[in-house]
């Protein structure tokens, strides 16, 4: 209803399953609230929009003492083989239990709602990911393009 739309700029820099949700949830919700939203995917965050990877993002249990566990579990044991898969399986179970959409589903809700998605060019260069590997609708640009949007943002978040 404001004459000028509110604006939110998010930088998504992490590529783990737990850290993929917050930017997408906030972005889709803000778009529903009639805000202009852009997410800048950089470093590991590019995995969130990488078609080859975003359906199988993982959770790292090591150095994550907040990771819930059915039994008391010293965090250092997270180095053992298979622990990342185990933590990921548990996380996926919790996500299913509360009926959350998957990351690819949430991404399409975002693009449908008009959220701008920008993947960072040096990251693509560095990791050998091409534009064809990215989810449809993702733009490829550098810091200046994102900042041009973010300078006028009411909310800026680094995730």
């Amino acid at each position: 209803m404001e004459n000028k739309k509110k604006r939110m700029a998010i930088i998504a820099s992490k590529g783990t399953l737990d850290m993929a949700y917050p930017p997408l949830i906030l972005a889709s919700t803000a778009a529903a609230m009639d805000a202009e939203v852009a997410i800048f995917y950089t470093l590991y965050g590019v995995d969130i929009v990488n078609k080859k990877k975003n359906h199988s993002l993982k959770v790292a249990p090591i150095a994550n003492p907040a990771m819930p566990s059915p039994v008391p579990f010293p965090n250092i044991l997270g180095v053992l083989p298979g622990m990342t898969s185990l933590a990921t399986m548990m996380m996926n179970g919790m996500i299913k239990k509360i009926n959350w959409p998957s990351i690819p589903e949430l991404l399409s809700l975002c693009t449908e709602a008009g959220v701008r998605m920008i993947a960072c060019t040096p990251t693509l260069e560095m990791t050998g990911v091409s534009k064809a590997d990215l989810v449809e609708g993702v733009e490829v640009a550098g810091a200046a393009e994102f900042l041009d949007f973010a300078f006028d943002a009411n909310i800026s978040l680094f995730v």
């Binding site: 209803m1 509110k6 949830i25 889709s28 919700t29 529903a32 609230m33 009639d34 805000a35 509360i98 009926n99 959350w100 959409p101 809700l109 709602a113």
Partner: protein, 78 residues
């Protein structure tokens, strides 16, 4: 709900944030100004989330009720 007949209904029971917000927004978009949406949600956060959404979109919350853990909202498109 007494005297207002909804033009559309939306069942978001069992869904968690942000789905009720996204689905409600979509449902409102499908209406024309003045039409009414009847919405049911079980997500406890919706009690404040749905009014917050409507404050931003300029649609009107006509009525909100709660019974047995189900929040129901009557929304008029602005």
């Amino acid at each position: 709900m007494a005297d207002i007949k909804p033009d559309a209904t939306l069942d978001c029971k069992g869904m968690n944030c942000p789905l009720p917000i996204l689905k409600t927004k979509k449902a409102i978009q499908g209406l024309t100004t003045g039409q009414v949406l009847f919405l049911e949600v079980t997500d406890a956060g919706s009690k404040s989330d749905i009014p917050a959404l409507l404050r931003r979109t300029g649609d009107e919350l006509v009525e909100m009720n709660e019974s047995n853990g189900v929040f129901s909202f009557t929304i008029k498109k602005g």
